[in-house]
Amino acid sequence: MATKILGDDPFGDAPAPKPEPKVEAKPEAKVEAQPEAKPEAKKEPKPRAKPAEPKVAAPPVAAPPVAAPPVAEPAPPPAKARPETPGSAYGPSIDARDASRPSPRIADDLRGIQDAVKHRLATRDATGEHAGERQSLPLEFLWRRWQKIAMRDRSDVVDEFGRDPHVAARVDPILSFLYKSYFRVEASGLGHIPDEGRALIVANHSGTLPYDGAMIMHAVRSEHAAHRDVRPLVEDFVFHFPYLGTLMNRIGGVRACPENAARLLEKDQLVAVFPEGIKGIGKLFRDRYQLQRFGRGGFIKLALKTDAPIIPTAVVGAEEIHPMLRKLTWLTRTIGVPYIPITPTFPALGPLGMLPLPSKWYIVFGEPLYFNAEYGKEGANDRILVNRLAEQVRIKIQDMLDVVLNKRQSVFFG
């Protein structure tokens, strides 16, 4: 059905495809060094090689019909379009056609095609350079429709680390619900986060799944004066999981590695790191709020090298969302996860057990630590110093945790 519209479309007066400059029609020749040449030789039967002829435009239906079903809008009976479209004056005649059908969009599509052909003609005449161009879109307007549908929940611009503003905006209400109603997060010390410029938020890590990263992100975005975006660095294993890694990436998570962190800080971003890493997020319930070793002090090196202040941060409440009683490490390598958690609910209640418990959360941002002023960039090479500073930060966060824990009366009501 769609092809008939195209039957009259401006492709009718598009130039005949010029001979490919590169193709020497020697199909029997053995292509040794360049398989690129092969498809060219075979190209003739392909319909898209001949954009100009309406008749040949029929076969390519192969592609668009697949795209057609999702086009839910009432497709206008295209047969009508046919008779009254004179090839020369098709532009105005489209506009003049009966207004009963939802034509404007199709008219736009057709105008787009018209522009495409004009552009093609112009570039070809001017330079002859584009003579070898192919027409990949036999049914451009259908393609545009499909593109619109396929692009509806995503942005065509992501930042260089993959944060998609559309996806982030869609996930935001969920985070907001978790933040305000579910975990009832109380954030304090937001004033310690600079309004602009780089900074490294260093926090304790817990909760089996990286909810704490998401909550820190949301706290700063919604409650900080400058509404800054925090880029949490996420453990590798999250990216081995289907869906989870992709989702974390689209809403702003970045794989934790020194290269990524340095690049972000150099662009004056706010980065959240969890130096405990996998040891922290996979803590057993009986070890809750006992900070684990802070990796190898990579975050200190990073802060020294990039001259970024460290903002020690304590997250209270995340330990209780998935109280992990045991963890299975048996056979987990093969499926690419570090362990399988056993919580009071998890394997027992199936997927329902993956819901976090609604504990009451506190996030405390501490005073920034400017190590760089004291030790300079060279400090990053002093391993003993790096370890000492890492331990210093760890103790600081542990103290902050203890203060909040001592005040807390109940896990669920604060």
């Binding site: 400059p21 590169k22 020497e24 053995k30 292509v31 040794e32 060094a33 360049q34 398989p35 690129e36 040449a37 498809p39 060219e40 898209r48 954009p51 192969a62 697949v66 795209a67 495409a116 552009h119 093609r120 570039t123 330079t127 350079e129 584009h130 070898g132 161009e133 192919r134 027409q135 990949s136 879109l137 393609w143 545009r144 499909w146 593109q147 396929a150 692009m151 995503r154 942005s155 065509d156 611009v157 992501v158 260089e160 680390f161 993959g162 998609d164 590798d236 081995h240 999981f241 289907p242 869906y243 890694g245 992709t246 990436n249 970045v254 794989r255 590695c257 290269e259 990524n260 690049r263």
Partner: protein, 356 residues
Amino acid sequence: MPKRPQSSRSPKSDSAITTTPRFDPEQRVVAVTGAYSFIGAELIKRLERDQRFYKILACDVRKPAFPLHKTQFHKIDLTNPTADADLAELWRREGVDTVVHAAFLSAPTHAAAWAHELESIGTMHVLNAAAECNVHKLVQWSQTVVYGATPSNPNFLSEDHELGGEHSRSRFIKDKVEAERQLRRFSKENPSTVVTTLRTAATLGPTIRNFASRFFSRPVAPTLMGFDPLMQLVHERDVTDAFVLAVTTDYPGEFNIVGDGVLPYSTILALMGKVPLPLPHFIAYPLSKALWAAQIFDSPPNFLDLLRYLCVADGDKAKRVMGFSPKYDLKQTIADFLGLPSAAGHEHLPSVGGGV
């Protein structure tokens, strides 16, 4: 055209005796292997127009299909066991100062043994001949897939990142890594030669035919459920620009030649109007293996890693050191590949030199 004295360059052994200047910037002779390939052919077209180049030697098994003026075609098969001697003789006779080695496959092939002969052994022949003639410069084409797509890649791979493609089970990628290894050894042994490696990202454009263009020409594209890595592309014209830059000026080292911008794979498919075919990865791998073994599909199973994990290279070094500035960003590359008039695309059409 100025007449060039027939100075035959001496082999390395008695180079002390010769007094001929090694490198005449106004009378350069460039040899291009893989002259029929996209990069070879486009480079020759550009060098033909450049006054600084006196002569171009096109070495390949097929003659480039456009009129040649100052280009001489020499039919040399790199899989031939004596190709190095042939090349060395030819290059010495003609006084070649710059060798561009672009005789690499742009798509994986089932003829893995032959591909190995061409890429790995062929590179050996080229390097032997280049060492023998003591050429001034060697530019080799490589691809960013040599870094390999692994879950432990940083978001932007710099040039000094290890070549993870070595551990890939794909012969296509392994051969490329091997060629780079040989080149590195060559560079160590021949410090007087300027060695440049240009690693191009997946290249698309209106005329190029390669794995990526074939992959993105189909109406349906497989995706792995739950995985949606960021991807980058580079426009064919920018690739040619980079090669011209590397040939005209000396930039020793490795460079990633990539276009600006990254997008998730699924968004690229959506922009191109492709229908995604989501498959769980534990089904996709065996399926792809079977299809590849049956020679039904043209991508080996390991290529699915590229749809699963990040393999994005950092183009900063090329911009900083070479002054390479891609004229097409990711979306413009896609638009130009599709044949759409993108707003920015107009400005970058040939007559306009500058950009972005």
